[in-house]
Each structure stands twice: as C-alpha cells, then as structure tokens.
Symmetry: C2
Subunit: 576 residues, 2 copies
Amino acid sequence: MKEIVRVNTRRGDVIRQEATDEEMRWGGRLLIAKFLMREVPPACDPLGRYNKLIIAPGLLGDTPVTTAGKYSVGGKSPLTGGVKESDVGGESGRKIARLGIKAIVLEDLPDRPVTYVLILDARGARLEECPELKGRMVTETFDRIRARFGGQVGIMAIGPAGEMKLPGAGVAVTDVDDIQLRYAARGGLGALMGSKGIKAIVVDDSGAPPPAYFDEAFLKEANREFVKMIMADPKTENRHKYGTPAVLMACNALGILPTRNFSSGQFEKATSIDGERVADVIAERGGEGRSGRPCVRGCVIQCSNVFPDPSGKKMTASIQYENIALLGSNCGIGDLDDITELNDLCNQVGVDAIETGAAIGVAMEAGIVPFGDAEGAKDLIRQIGRGTPLGRILGCGAVITGKVLGVRRVPAIKGQAIPAYDPRALKGNGITYITSPMGADHTAGNMLETAKTVDPLGRERQVENSRRLQIRAALLDTMGLCLFTRPPFVKRPDFFGIFLKGRYGWEMTYADVQRLGIDCLETEREFNRRAGVSEELHDIPEFMREEPLPPSNSVFDIPMEEIQRIWEVQVPADVF
Amino acid sequence: MKEIVRVNTRRGDVIRQEATDEEMRWGGRLLIAKFLMREVPPACDPLGRYNKLIIAPGLLGDTPVTTAGKYSVGGKSPLTGGVKESDVGGESGRKIARLGIKAIVLEDLPDRPVTYVLILDARGARLEECPELKGRMVTETFDRIRARFGGQVGIMAIGPAGEMKLPGAGVAVTDVDDIQLRYAARGGLGALMGSKGIKAIVVDDSGAPPPAYFDEAFLKEANREFVKMIMADPKTENRHKYGTPAVLMACNALGILPTRNFSSGQFEKATSIDGERVADVIAERGGEGRSGRPCVRGCVIQCSNVFPDPSGKKMTASIQYENIALLGSNCGIGDLDDITELNDLCNQVGVDAIETGAAIGVAMEAGIVPFGDAEGAKDLIRQIGRGTPLGRILGCGAVITGKVLGVRRVPAIKGQAIPAYDPRALKGNGITYITSPMGADHTAGNMLETAKTVDPLGRERQVENSRRLQIRAALLDTMGLCLFTRPPFVKRPDFFGIFLKGRYGWEMTYADVQRLGIDCLETEREFNRRAGVSEELHDIPEFMREEPLPPSNSVFDIPMEEIQRIWEVQVPADVF
C-alpha cells in the first residue's frame, strides 16, 4: 500500500494516511487535480492557510520504465490563481515513490517566521528547523544539506525568491549525478513552498523495501521494447546530441522565437545560441562540460547538458531551449556565456527562467535597461535575490512587471508568461495557452511537434490538434513520464495499459487510460472555473491579435468562439 | 436633446451623436453600466484599446436640485478588473450637463506617447496636444490650465501617477470656488484616463443655452421643500460643522477605525484627528482655513473644509474621514498636520488616498517604514510621483503591494482596498464590500448609518440591509445626487419621481425609480461576471475571518452562502 504524508506546517506535525483505493488510481498531475478539487477552496488566497502544496510521483514513479522518475509538484498557483502542476526530473521523484509515498501534502501556514526542512526517510517524515539555511542561494542550500545528509539523498529546495513568496519562484531539485539543478519552475510553486516555511525537502530512500510490482518480469520486458522504440526514433538521437536547444533553429525558421519582448519571431543572432552551438561549445571547452546527460535515473534519451564557462568550469546545468529563448533572444541577448550565466542566476535566486526572461523583456520595453544589455539583465536577477523593490517586481513575473511599469505589451495568459513559441506563428500553441488549465505552458500541448502536418499559420485543425496533445500531456504527467517518450505511444498507445498491468495488475485499455487524461483536464478546468480562471476571461494578449509578427507578419486570429469548442472535441479512443 | 461626445484618442477626432430615447433614460452610474455592457468587452485589458473612459452627469445634473452637480466617471477598472463608477463633486459635472452632454466617451489608445487636453465648450469638443503639461503635479496642471482658459472653466486632470498608468491613480477635479481639489478617486480611473493620453479635460459652459426643463417652477418648488427637509435633519448641521471627519469618534467607539493595517479598530490618538479637532484647528489657525464649504454649486449641506497649515496657508482641501483613517490611524499616524500633508501629496501625485493609505499600511507591515513614521510615509508618496520602483508598487494599490512585498494581511476585496470601516465590527459593510460590483467601497452601501438599528456585530438582517442601501446608492449615483441627501428620501421617496417629472416630464412612481437602481446593480453584476469579478471569487480577506479585531474581538463570520442570497432580496417598492 501507499501512503499520503500530510505535513501541518502550523502545528509542525506529520500525519500518515493509507491511500484509499480511489487515491491509488491517481498519480502525478491527476492526483494533484483531484486533491485540489477535494481539499482546497478554489477562491482561496494561494499564499494563505487554505492552499496546499502537493508533491506526487506519477503512477509509474517507482517502476523501471524509462524516464518514469519525473514527478509532479502542484497547488493553487500564486502566479495564475488557478490549478498548477509543474513536473520535474531529478532524483527525488523515484525516491519518494520508493518510500511508498503516494503524495506529500503541505498544509496550513506557520504562525511565525520559520525555516523548516522536511525530512522523509524509511523511518517516516519530520520537520526540522534549520535557521542557518534562511536566505541561502539554491546551490549553497544543496551543499549544506549534502554536507549533513550525504550524497545519497534527493533534495528539493527554494531560493530567496521562494522565501520572499514571489510568484515567479520555482522549486529546485537535484539530479541523479548531483550535477544538474532542475526546476519545477512554472506557476510560482516556490512561493507556495516558501509560504509554508519549508526551505527544503530531503528524501532518503535508503533502507526502503523494494516496490511490490504485480509482474516485474512483464514490466521489464515491456520497458525493453519501449526503450527500443524510443531509441529507433530519429528525434531521440538529435535530442541526445543537442538537447532541447536542438529546436531553436527550427523555431527561428518558423518565426516563433521570442525576440525583444515578442516583437519578432526571428533573432539575428540565432546561430550563436542554437543547439549545435551549445554542443560545440561544450565539446570545445571540455572541462566539466557534458552533452547527453540524463536528468532521471534510467532515462535513455539523456537530453541534458552541463554548460561550462570558458575555463571549463560548470556555468549552468542543464541549459534548455526555452530558457535560451526567454533570457536570450527575448532580451536581445545573443551570447551563450551571458545566457547561461543569466540562467544560473535564476537557478540560484530561485525563479522560473521563462517567467523571469519574459519579465525582463517587459522591463526592457519599459526602458529599465536596454534590449541586449546582458550585464543589466544579470543585475536585475541579482536584485530579485536581494529583494530590492525592482527585484521583487520582476520576481512577481511578467504580468505584475507590466502593470507596475506601465507596459501594455505583456506576453502572458492567465497570469503566466508565454513560453518560447510565439502563438501568432504557431497558432495551435495559442489555443493550448488559452485553454490549458495551466495557462501559457508549452508542456501542456506543444504544436511544434505537428508543425509539418498542421499548418502553423493556418486555422485548420488547430483546435482538434491542441485537444489531442493536451490529453497526451495530461496522461504523461499523470504517469510520471517525460514528454519525449511520445514516439512509442503514438504507434502503440497500449503501452500505457501494459505498464499499469505490470505495476498494479490493472486491466486497462487505452480508452480507459485516455479517460484519465480527460478526467485530469476536466477536473483542472472545473477548479479553475471556480477560481475565476477560465479561458473566456483570459484570451491571448490583445497585442497578439493586433500586431503582426515579423517575419510571417501573422497575427493570432482564431476567434474565441472557435477556441471554446475545444471542450467538445472527441479524440478517437485509439489515438494517442 | 442631449449628445454623446465620443473622443477617439487614436485618430484624435471627436464624434457627436444625439442621445437615443433609451440613452436619455440613463444617467451617471446607470449610464456607465449600460455603456460598458454594450460597448466594452468585459475581459478586455483595462488599459488596452477596448476599454473606454466614460464621464456622465446624473439624470438631474443640469437641474437646480441641491447637490445634483455630482457626476460619474467610469470604465472597466484597472484596479479591480470589473465595472467602476466613481462619482465626484466639483464644478465640471454641472457644466458638462449644461453643455447638453449626456456622456463623454474616451475611446481607443493613442499609438504614440502624447499629452492631450480635451476641451469642451459651447462650440464643440476638441483634443489639443499640450506637451508642457506632461508629468506635472495636479495643482500645477490646474494652474497652467487656469492661466490659459480663465477662472470660469471646470477642470479634470490626472497627476503623474495617472500618466504612469498606476492602478491606484484617480481623476482630480476643481471645485466651485477653485479652492478644493476633489477626486473621482477609486478604482484607478486616473490610470485609464492616462492610458488614453488625456492629461486634462477643460469644460467651459459659457454661452451654453439654458436647460429646457419640463416644468421649472415645479422643479424649483420641489427643491425648496427638499432642501427644507435636509436642513431639518440633525445630521446636516453636524456634517456642516465637522465635515465627514464627524464620524471618526463614532467609528472609533464602534471599533471599526482601521488602525495599523487593520490590526485594531480603535486608535489611541483618535481624539487628535477627529472631526471636532479638525474644526477646532481650522478655527484656531484662521488664515485660508474654512469649515462648512460646498463642493458643488448649490449644495446646502456644505460638509467640506479647507485645512490650513500652522501659518494659515491651505494645506489640503477638503480633508475627509476616510483619508484621515487610511493615511492616519491605519498607518499609526496621529497628527493632523502630517495627515493633511499626506493627503495633499496624494492629491498632487494623483492617487486615491484610501488605496494609497492602505498600500502604505501594507508596506509598513512589511517593514519598509515603521508604523507611525509620517516622514517615511510622505517619502513613499513622493516616490509614487517620481515613479521609483517602490513608488510604482505603492501606486498599484494595496493588493499588488502585498503581493510584491510578500504580505498576507492585505485589506482589499476584488482588488480594491477596504475603506475606513472594518467589516469585522460593522458586518453589513463586509457584505457590501463583497457583493457590490464596485468592490470594497463604502459609498456603495454603508451600514454606519444603520448601526443603531441593525447590530453591527450581529448577523441578523445584514444581507437585507446591505441590499437596500446598495440600491439607494446606485439610485443616488444615477441621479447625480450626494449620498448626504438621503434624509428626505427616506421619508418621501416620491421626491425622485417629482424631480424627474420637473426635469423631463416623466411620470415615474418610486417603484419605477427603484427599478433603475436595481437595473444598475444587475447590469454591473453581469459585466463583472463576464469579467471574472464576482463575489464567489472574491470573499473578504482570509485574515478577517480568522483574526479577531480589538476591541470587539470580532471576526467576519457571515457565511458566503448567506451573502449570496443578497441577489434574491426584495426591497419593498415604497422603501428607500
């Protein structure tokens, strides 16, 4: 059986409950949606007593299925005011699952300023006050926890931004090799964790009994077949070699690469910051630099990297496409050393690099620092860490930055910054950003994948396509699988049922599994409706319906009535 | 016939349309609700192209009925995101009405930075660029306009806060004697005016033909009777002598006087800042000081004042109870000279003193400056005028200040700061703040008036009472009458029909008139529903349901289900 670990941050105690049969059927993103709907008043203050921070491995979180160690962090978002699930790799997800924990639920608020560490191990769970961690940068926090708890534990932590409860703050996690610093970045969940007084969570699964699979041999055999199909997909090698920055030139060619606060879809210095360039610099500089690293144990795609500075010392790990786009081209910055330093600064102070890059773009439009001023941008992120008034404004994300600085061109939907795919020239993404319960989030259903089969500039089939990819994303996030495992599922959606049978003995057709994804979206949507965050209220930013995006000179022109149809779209029950 | 004057701020042109029969039946607040519902997409960006700033005299705006020169400024609020009507005295309302203008509608946005003055006179309406006014404080703006247009014109203007589009900005207006600086303060309408590039509006009614009343003698006779009843009411003399600060000691006694960011309902220095003290200081110092001044021509109540500094020079005019409470006790400041200077600073930079006082209280709770630090508070308001990052944060109002500074105890509902009546010990006001389409606004239905007949700490009859007073407020704001004209209407609600008959020849029972108020509220509520600003989504701040308010130690405990019933409450058709 699995446990729900409830941590009351006011009383400082922990309650462990056995998961019910119904709860056993939930995992990752679906579990978060269900728990929020059941336990959190949708209209509550996201940083108040009634919100909860929920951490949940996916349904396959404790299995050997490749990438399945990804896990979900969620709650009512301090950024969007709606439901938020942010999933992340690293080492803690599998450890949480191996400890037999279905979900960790952080409840209530401390009634005094406090800096807690939550410790989860085979003996149980407990809160410990660690005032010496107060205000520490993320790597320093990890280092101090490592020094005390050793190299085998998984760690989640927030930076000063999360402690300051800034809605742009994320939750940082360690990776399998203790090299990368990864983030459950979006939606301000670091602020939610900070509001609970929790600076870090330590997960130690040593001594935990091995998971009781229904049929281990069957599960492992299925995974072997699954891995073979992933490896056979041509995209996998590309991802392995160049990481997510592999798509930068494609995005530039499509004219969707955010440039200077979303005023262009192409950047004149794109070749200086693309995937090949990232890989070349890593290879040239050597030292601590690495391409093709895994973020979760057992991942065969291994799309992460360690980006070194000119001396070969690690600058940031991993550097991703979206961060390059938002901190780079979107700020008019075309130098990888600058961009990776900006990325590292975000990682250290504890903010989402996408949100922060968008906020800096807005601040640049307001004239706070000029576009292209990398040193100015670095100073702005350092100011977030110091909590200066300007730093705090930026740490609140793009929307509040725009409001405070009087900028109308703010690239955000439902309070969250638009990621690195301008929806004017990849219109399906606009539909995802508007209708996804997550707000503007490319991981909720990214049409880049289908740009060759569905015209990104056209209006045809966009709604249907977004619906299909949104169900997919919800499913993968419920299982704890990486989006990059899609290729085998496209050919064989029955893999889901096979894995669930091997793990739990459940008999589920793909139609049954698909309903989990639909249920997840519907539950999230209903929560958002009650929280006042629905698509009728949150169209694309007005400037994107007015202002043509060079070079396609396209505007976002899909009418809201058409977009609303998305909730009626039926995806065939045998199509992933 | 009356005209609708539409000013397109992008093209820079003006269109004048004859008001339709339907439009003729609308005035003030009702007109704004109807125009917004008809013309403004509820989910639009309040500072974008699709919002409109609407200025409308009440239905009695061009009549000699006492106080009827009050008029309404409205639009989708940059502060609340919902409908906003802010009404104000001064001289312009009657002048607009005398020019035969039913409403001024400012549309679209300029496509370049521009500083316009809108000039309305008997020849028509036109926009003129006045770059020399850019960034000027309010009094300086008034002085420069006076120097050019003379003493006979009415002026509306915004300060630097409005030009910066800060959501706490208001619209300042001149008064009948050119002494007072009054404000359509609440809801950020100054930011909306600033977004349209309009720094000031000049209204010159010289040469306008006299209004064509249906029956002037009848109207004047009715007004005489009406005035007699107002003067006979004991509250009138009290208001005349002490102004709105007359209620401060009563509020202190009830324990609803906001003190140190709403942490207490009583202030130990209350007697230093109450109405008697205000009147005494004015009398002692002499000079330019005055009590008992009118804000609109023909007002017989005359509750305004001119507060002098120790040398007798005008410090601020008029100083009101709510401003004393929010800038004073709510900030722990108990000196009238400090408070009136703070008030003047708000007036000059162009922000709502209530919103700004609440924002400073939140900033004090965050430790930016200590409670009681008057010089620190003055510096903060000056920073708004200069547009420093901290100043801009405060200029965005209490909610954004709380978000950026990480404060949970934010006294605001629907994005707007709670005025000077703590709803924990005047529970009916909590119902008004939650359910009024205006957000937390005491002028929308203030239960202080009924504190002797409805227990302010009890739950009985609060919902019904709020409903009744909200209909009242909507009616008075639709007529253009001051809330302080209530006494005769309580005894004789037929006065409304009489005035409307005298002005227009309409035959309306009070039941007909009451329906205007109900229609106004329902229209506003529907706009808000479509804008995502409804009471289910915006309960009272959580801390007010948890944290007992000294000295009554009462919390706000009216359940949302009970509050929601307000929309079903029927007020008898013969009760005002």
